[in-house]
């Protein structure tokens, strides 16, 4: 597996978090900013997924009913982070949808996706 081990998800997620944060600070284009916001969400969700299988070398998904599983209860992955990340994904989807709708309206109005030009167009 090498460095792409499940155990390393946490480090990858934090690296992704800071890369996308850097992207947010530097990108001049609105679309790029939106993409980086989506990336930053993904990184946090990756981090949460790691929490469900922490200290558990062979995690079993907690969705199959099997009496044998109940005997090795310590191998079952923690279902809470999965449920919570699902909620977070849905909320993120809704918010991003609205942001893109707003961007669409602005784009029709001013015909630009540049933060600076939009700011000037708005008079500030």
């Amino acid at each position: 597996m090498g460095i792409f081990n499940v155990e390393n998800i946490e480090i990858f997620s934090l690296i992704l978090f800071f890369i996308s944060f850097f992207g947010l600070i530097t990108s001049k284009n609105v679309i790029k900013s939106i993409i980086f916001v989506m990336l930053i969400q993904t990184s946090v969700i990756m981090f949460w997924l790691k929490l469900g299988i922490e200290g558990n070398p062979t995690p079993i998904p907690p969705i199959i009913y099997d009496p044998v599983l109940l005997e090795n209860i310590e191998y079952i992955a923690d279902p809470l982070p999965q449920a919570l990340t699902l909620t977070a994904i849905i909320i993120g989807f809704a918010v991003i949808a609205i942001v893109i709708t707003m961007f669409n309206t602005l784009d029709r109005q001013y015909g630009t996706a540049d933060w600076k030009k939009l700011e000037e167009a708005e008079g500030n």
């Binding site: 978090f17 944060f21 947010l24 600070i25 530097t26 990108s27 001049k28 609105v30 900013s33 939106i34 916001v37 930053i40 969400q41 946090v44 981090f47 949460w48 929490l51 922490e54 809470l80 982070p81 919570l84 909620t87 977070a88 909320i91 993120g92 809704a94 918010v95 991003i96 609205i98 942001v99 707003m102 961007f103 309206t105 602005l106 109005q109 933060w115 600076k116 939009l118 700011e119 167009a121 708005e122 500030n124």
Partner: protein
Amino acid sequence: MLTFFVIIPILLAVLIFTFSAKTKAIKIIAIVFQSALFAASLYLVGITREADVVTFVGSDDLLGIVLRANSLSAIFVLLTTFIFLAVSIYSYSYRDERDARTFWFLMFLLEASFIGLFLSGDLFNIFVLIEVSTLVTVILTMYDRKNRNIFHGKVFLLTNLVSIQFYLLGLGYIYRITGALDVERVGEVLATLDDRNLLLPYVLIMTSIAFKNTLIPFFSWTPKVRIYPKSPTVVAAVMSGLQAKTSLYLFIRFQEMFAPIAAYEIFLAIGIVTGIFGAVMAICQKDIKMILAYHTISQIGLITVGISLTNGLSHVGGLYHIVSHAMFKTTLFLSAGIISHSYGTSNVYEIRGVMKRMPVIGIATLAAVLGITGAPFFIGSVSKYFISYEVTPLIMAVTVALSFGTIISFIKFSSIFFGHSVLEGSTPKAELCKTIPIAIMGAICFVGGIFGTQLIYFLLRYNVEIQWWSYVQKSLIFLASAGVGYLLYNYVIKGNAALARFGEMNFSFRSICASMGVFMALLLLLMGR
């Protein structure tokens, strides 16, 4: 029982959306429902004095959703229901536009999410409710189709989305450390832990909350968006009166939860700088709603100072100032809406003679202005008295400076009351349903000052006393600073071009994100020493 506080506004929203707001009957039902909710939250404040009220939704162990009301959250619920009651009476006579029912659907959804936020005992639910309220807020501020402000709405939404990711990441660390998301359980576990483990989650969560709170590096974007002159009056009032309080509530809760490492001194300093900066920015504005908006930031700084001071009475003063700020800021925004609608402009230099043109609203607004500046016998004087009670001379000087800034910005605001109105002709008929809530809240600004100690005892369960001699001293300081402020405003500040340019200052999206990173890094450095 607590479930009903969240469900009833949602039911009301659905009811209005289904049966349309065009009939007066629906609006009367809304007012009746809101009054019932207000009465229920008064009852809630009464019973949480004895013990906390806990309601389990689903299973009654730590896995279920918990709603928990203690004496603090009960006050916030009371404020929410009161302001929404006032707002629904205020808008009773609105001429119905095409989309009124969607508007009220969103408004009551917002109320439900605020109440849920105050009552929720689960950290993840708090995240969900913050997101819901942000989303609804943005849609509401852009509701007026003719002059909406999409650009600032988008910046608002995107920056909030980024800041909430910090919260979620911090929450992940909390879950890893404690294995729980229930507020009380997490608090218990955190109290037993080593400080080093708590540092990172604390810094991440506080970055997010300080951003929502519009503390110093993040001050610039809020008024532009939240209470932008273009957003509907009712929304502006709810934003400044309540939405600013949700983040303060979270701030108090998280400071309590992280009590072992909570950085009171750092936030005290941040609060001071925020207060001064907000006041300076408020002085530089020329739009009455913008003055009020920036002034909200200054007051949030003052409240942060109050709740970061660890002696008991300052904390009480900070909490009472939250209540009083909700009262006078809602009054001011509602009346600013009426005034700017009546004059057709919201430029502070063009509006004159409000007292003559609409006396009742003028008097209520004046009461709110006196309350906000901390004039003796008004509500602000009591809360400011307790914030600066038994503090070091330095903090004392700071609070005096803060209220001095408030006084100057409201001397500017007060110029609308007097003078000759440019608009001649008949005064418009005052609408009763708009006047009543403003008059009542204006009266509370006065009554809350006279019966300040009794109100504090009822709301906060603190038996406090005002010593007459020091109260007189504070009043003398107020009078002196009002005099100095009047002279300073008229001879130095008025028409100063440099200041006006300073007031135009604005942050771009990128610099807001950068300031988030800088804030986090600085907090980490200062606390990790």
